[in-house]
């Protein structure tokens, strides 16, 4: 019996070594970046439809891994899932890991028609702070940055001076203090001179003045958050944004991967913002032709116009085509030439689809009971991956956050509507205290090396950023399935119908209707502006160019609306009766097909 038991144990060990992927990942504890990577390795070993891509290493040496799941690789439309790019969204990484696991298990059908690319943690260096022995909210990667432009780099970071393993805040009574205590609340608020508040405090992050320059924690370890390092609205000259957009391996290699995988049709961002709960608004005009713009100097010269004049874009287009003798100049070309700058709001025609999807999202959450009252998530940050994906990469992009603090019942009555502790909104602190009173570390006296008598306390790091561990499974279970609904909305193009008419003996008219049966347009309206992705083309093959009397071998569709948006392609060709031609419908990320057509038929 003992021998059988030993053999059984050995068998279990061997099987677990051979098939590590069979062991289901749970969310009983958050996965640090290395365990996320291990889980991805396990999934990749367990299935030939799963590939792990190496995107390099972070400045801290952490591997950057992107998991591909799909039976058809680049031949199927792709969905890129980017999680925890800012390093401050633990639940996002767990959701991405869960998605990968389900797509290789219960949801494997969803990986037959779509290829999934999952970047479970875009900022491993920053996210590592969540698992550090001393916890603090700092999400930059390990790239050395001389924040204070002295001669030392990363020389004045946080210090756990009271030894409680969390970096909180220091408050010091001081004549120059800007904060006062709030009655019945542990937190502080900005002093109001009109109220004559006398007991004033200065607030500092927990630490000492390591380099004795008079500042505390002004040059902390590491320096760039890759989640602020994407090139749309990149915040130049801002702390933590990097020396230039795309300066960081974490962001640059992700973009390189995305541009190399032209089959990507949608980007989903798991992080702190939620663009289906808070759909962005827009004042952008759908039709710019009636909007007035300044005429650039060079065009004024060429067209004989007064310098500094302005006119409607439609008029300017006509004048430009005439002045340059280039009738093919497009609106988008002209917009580029007159330097209207980058768009910062979604195209209104895209918002029609976006709002409809947001309604579906709300209905879905209602159906799963996951739509409880909670604080609004923050909007996307400047230089974020989600804004880059929509505004530059040109794909439909949706950001999901999965959790914010629940709204307390008494939020409206008790919250203090002035600036509170730096980095937090008052409503957020009230919500936090209601959600988890232990999330506040009570102020305790401390003798500081340079400040003297102070108190240390404040929000426990990550308390506002991660739900309690026992809520993680439920939050993912009730929300993640909406990702599958999103994957059903991808544009899908096909040849709807082909008609052949004999115009004269051996002369045929060929009519083909191209249609988009998917929900989303192809490309998005803004994607048409960014010229991404490549347009749908329908190519006529089987007749030489000289035999095409009307039309060109390649028909290009600029934009196909969703839900049946169609376009007609038409050719007139000379050919032997009964000869065959081939129509090839191609798109980079919305499918395609080939159809043989026999040139015969009755006369019109």
């Amino acid at each position: 019996m003992k021998r059988i038991a030993i053999l059984f144990l050995v068998a279990v060990v061997v099987v677990s070594l051979i098939l590590p992927g069979l062991a289901a990942v749970t969310h009983a504890s958050y996965h640090p970046p290395m365990l996320l990577l291990d889980a991805f390795h396990d999934l990749a070993r367990a299935s030939r439809d799963v590939t792990l891509h190496d995107l390099g290493n972070t400045p801290g040496g952490a591997p950057l891994a992107l998991l591909e799941i799909g039976a058809r690789g680049n031949n199927a439309p792709g969905i890129l899932v980017v999680a925890n790019m800012t390093g401050d969204a633990p639940l996002a990484s767990e959701a991405a890991l869960e998605l990968a696991q389900r797509l290789t298990g219960d949801w494997s059908d969803a990986a037959h028609e779509v290829t999934w690319y999952i970047y479970a943690c875009g900022n491993p260096d920053g996210y590592a702070s969540f698992f550090a022995p001393v916890k603090m909210e700092r999400f930059t990667n390990a790239k050395p940055v001389n924040n204070d432009a002295d001669r030392l780099v990363d020389e004045d970071g946080a210090d756990d001076i009271n030894g409680d393993s969390v970096i909180t805040m220091i408050r010091q009574r001081h004549p120059e203090g800007e904060f006062v205590a709030v009655a019945d609340k542990p937190y502080m608020k900005s002093a109001d001179p009109a109220e004559g508040q006398a007991a004033r405090y200065r607030l500092f992050p927990e630490g000492i003045d390591n380099d004795l320059d008079g500042s505390i924690n002004e040059d902390q370890t590491g320096g760039v958050n890759p989640g602020y390092n994407f090139p749309h609205n990149w915040p130049m000259h801002t702390d933590n944004a990097g020396l230039w957009a795309a300066s960081e391996t974490e962001s640059r290699e992700l973009m390189r991967f995305a541009y190399d995988h032209t089959n990507i049709a949608m980007v989903l961002v798991f992080g702190r913002s939620n663009t289906l709960r808070s759909v962005p608004e827009t004042d952008r005009k759908a039709d710019l032709l009636n909007e007035s713009f300044a005429v650039p100097g060079w065009l004024a010269r060429r067209a004989g116009l007064k310098r500094g004049s302005s006119m409607k874009l439609g008029e300017m287009l006509t004048i430009t085509r005439d002045a340059l003798s280039r009738p093919g100049v497009t609106v988008d070309q002209l917009l580029g030439w007159i330097s209207t700058g980058a768009e910062t709001e979604p195209h209104p025609k895209d918002l029609v689809y976006w709002n409809a999807i947001a309604s579906r999202y709300t209905a879905f959450l209602d159906s799963t009971g996951a739509n409880g009252d909670r604080l609004d998530p923050p909007p996307p940050v400047d230089g974020s991956v989600e804004e880059w994906a929509y505004f530059q990469y040109g794909t439909p992009t949706f950001a999901l956050d999965f959790w914010t603090l629940p709204t307390p019942d008494s939020a409206d009555d008790d919250s203090v509507d002035t600036d509170t502790e730096p980095g937090y909104a008052d409503a957020e602190l009230d919500a936090l205290l209601a959600y988890d009173p232990s999330a506040w570390v009570a102020w305790k006296p401390f003798d500081h090396a340079t400040l003297g008598r102070v108190e240390i306390g404040g929000v426990r790091p990550f308390a506002t950023l991660a739900p309690k561990q026992d809520e993680v499974e439920g939050l993912i279970d009730t929300q993640l399935p909406f990702v599958l609904e999103l994957s059903d909305l991808l544009p899908r193009v096909s040849i709807d119908s082909v008609a052949v008419t004999e115009r004269a003996s051996g002369v045929y008219e060929l009519d083909a209707w191209i249609t988009n049966t998917g929900f989303l347009p192809y490309p998005t309206w803004h994607g048409q502006r960014t010229q991404r992705p490549s347009p749908v083309t329908l190519t006529l093959e089987g007749v030489d160019a000289a035999s095409i009397l009307e039309g060109r071998p390649r028909h290009v569709c600029d934009l196909l609306e969703g839900n049946g948006g169609s376009e007609r392609a038409r050719w007139v060709v000379t050919a032997r009766p009964g000869s065959e031609v081939t129509l090839t419908l191609w798109s980079s990320s919305a499918g395609g097909e080939q159809r043989q057509v026999t040139l015969k038929g009755g006369r019109r």
Binding site: N146, N147, D148, A149, D150, R151, D209, L212, D213, G214, P231, H232, W234, M236, H237, L243, W244, A245, A246, S247, R252, M255, R256, Y259, P296, G297, W298, S325, D332, L335, G336, S339, T340, G341, A342, F391, Q392, R529, T530, Q531, S534, P535, T537, A545, R552, P553, R554, V556, D558, W586, S588
Partner: protein
């Protein structure tokens, strides 16, 4: 015999004192010649080998087509490490068709090395500065300018495939050398409704016909066919990415800035250059040589750059206006105001990212091809000058007919009979070989002028007063007599480079007070509360900073001024 020996000795002495002759050069390079990729590499290798004590060559990366990006550093290690000296960065030919920008870089390197020890200003520059030279950034397109059938306007971009005509295909309809002469010239077809007719002044030229005149010609395009059957000729050329729109800083996406690339530094050469300049915090000035306009260009390049700080503009103005004198016919201009808005260009990147000043220099001007008696100003200003005609005269009587190819009739596969001819590849945007050397020298001289004006620190003890109680008051001045500050206002404003350190230290001494001396007459000092022995500051253009320290103790104090972009200086004070 004695006389003969004396005469010979004197002759030898005279020869040794006279400027170097061609025979004396270790590396004999021709300056009436355009160097192709291999020749450029060979020249750089020869220079670095012949002057291994002063020059070092490395590849800083590879291009899309696998060519090395060569980078030559010129520095005299006997006078200090390169990173301890003010650095000058020079590159050329980021646009592959702007080929003579490579020769400027090459000439500068050659001139510095061959004349080190012979010409005092050159010796001083090599001893005091570090020169970082990347002769060619767009190695692929410049190489192809020589290897492929080409033209002066062909090859601006990097060799990154692009779908110009939005038909799903990449680079499928480029130029075709229809007459097999190794060049891509213009193509015209006889058409009585066409917009052009033969010029009455010269049958090689065409002029626009008046509405009531009979047409004669239609200009189709440059040499090529409709490769993809879409009814257009040459509409999807190789590449599109303009590397001088691909740098960081104010980079904008391609729908805003044509040729920007997918993201900043997405091209291999721009990434390599970005990483290289990042490794040289000592850079004090940068040069990017281009080839058309006869211009000395400074930023801002667009409204996104915001206004430049006035003190930085004064430095630009000083160096730019002096450049107009070194380079007669060149005009010093502001990119955004006098040209057009651009985003992601190199000089803007250097200024916004590192706070380093720089010029874009456009080498060729149409006045180089003039053939008439007129002043430079007349030529530049007069819009009515029939300059095509004048250039033809220049071609005929000066360049001996080497610049223009007469129209010849060929059979086009789609258009039938067409004529091919016009300005040849090595014209229009570039000087003719016999004109090259002076242009190269004057541009190199402008680089040397800025090198001369990189910051140099001088320290001066202004006052040493015994205050009693073992206390001494020291007042010290740090000066920069040159135009370029140790840190630009931009760098200071956005903490783009480490601040300068003005320190006092000494065994047994304690600095009890210190600060910037704002007014020595009224004794106004801006104190430094923490660590008063260390004062963070910068030295402005042609300016100084005075500090005051109150020191307790006796002995020797060392006052040190440490700047990242200038050589450090020390001063010893005993009390």
């Amino acid at each position: 015999m004695k006389h003969l020996t004396l005469t010979l000795s004197l002759l030898l002495l005279l020869l040794s004192l006279s400027p170097a002759h061609a025979d004396d050069y270790k590396v004999n390079l021709r300056w009436d010649h355009f160097y192709d990729y291999q020749q450029t590499e060979d020249a750089l290798r020869q220079l670095s080998k012949a002057y291994s004590g002063l020059a070092s060559l490395q590849s800083i990366g590879r291009s899309e087509e696998g060519r090395d990006l060569w980078q030559l550093t010129i520095n005299n290690p006997a006078t200090g490490d390169d990173l301890d000296k003010p650095g000058i960065y020079v590159d050329g030919t980021i646009h592959g068709n702007e080929i003579q920008a490579t020769e400027v870089s090459l000439y500068l390197a050659w001139y510095l090395l061959e004349n080190y020890g012979d010409i005092a200003t050159v010796t001083e520059a090599v001893d005091r500065n570090a020169f970082y030279i990347v002769p060619t950034v767009n190695v692929d397109s410049r190489a192809r300018f020589f290897e492929d059938a080409s033209n002066y306007n062909i090859g601006r971009s990097a060799r990154v495939p692009y779908d110009d005509d939005r038909d799903g295909l990449l680079d499928e309809d480029g130029y075709d050398d229809l007459d097999g002469d190794g060049e891509i010239l213009r193509m015209r077809v006889a058409d009585p409704t066409g917009p052009y007719r033969t010029s009455p002044d010269d049958p090689r030229l065409m002029v626009r016909r008046k509405p009531w005149e009979q047409g004669e010609w239609r200009i189709i395009e440059r040499e090529g066919i409709d490769n993809d059957g879409d009814g257009q000729i040459n509409e999807d050329l190789p590449g599109q990415l303009d590397m001088n729109r691909n740098y960081g800083g104010t980079w904008q996406p391609p729908y805003v800035q044509y040729g920007a690339g997918d993201y900043p530094m997405s091209a291999k050469p721009t990434y390599a250059v970005g990483q290289f300049v990042l490794s040289k915090p000592n850079l004090a000035f940068n040069w990017a040589f281009h080839n058309y306009g006869g211009l000395i260009v400074r930023g801002p390049g667009s409204e996104l750059d915001g206004p430049y700080p006035p003190s930085d503009i004064k430095v630009f103005d000083f160096l730019g206006e002096e450049g107009e004198k070194i380079l007669p016919g060149y005009e010093y201009i502001v990119s955004k105001d006098d040209l057009y808005s651009t985003y992601g260009d190199f000089d803007g990147f250097m200024y916004q990212t590192f706070g380093v000043l720089g010029f874009v220099q456009e080498l060729h001007n149409r006045i180089n091809d003039r053939y008439r008696k007129m002043t430079d100003d007349e030529w530049v200003a007069d819009e009515d000058v029939p300059w095509e005609l004048e250039r033809l005269r220049f071609n005929d009587n000066v360049a001996q007919g080497t610049m223009f190819k007469d129209w010849t009739t060929i059979q086009h596969p789609q258009l039938g009979e067409v004529q091919v001819g016009g300005w040849r590849a090595f014209t229009t945007r570039m000087q003719q070989p016999f004109q090259l050397q002076e242009m190269l020298h004057r541009n190199a001289a402008h680089v040397l002028f800025t090198a001369k004006h990189t910051p140099e620190i001088e320290l001066e003890l202004l006052e040493q007063t015994d205050l009693g109680n073992d206390l001494t008051r020291l007042r010290v001045r740090a000066s920069n007599r040159h135009a370029i500050p140790t840190l630009t206002a931009k760098a200071w404003q956005h903490r783009l480079a480490p601040k300068d350190l003005f320190t006092l230290s000494g065994r047994g001494l304690e600095v009890v007070s210190g600060g910037i001396l704002q007014d020595p007459f009224l004794d106004i000092v801006r104190p430094v509360e923490h660590q008063p022995g260390t004062i963070y500051t910068r030295l402005p253009s042609f300016g100084h900073v005075d500090v005051q320290w109150i020191v307790q103790g006796n002995g020797k104090a060392t006052v040190r001024y440490h700047a990242v972009k200038a050589m450090d200086r020390e001063l010893e004070v005993r009390f």
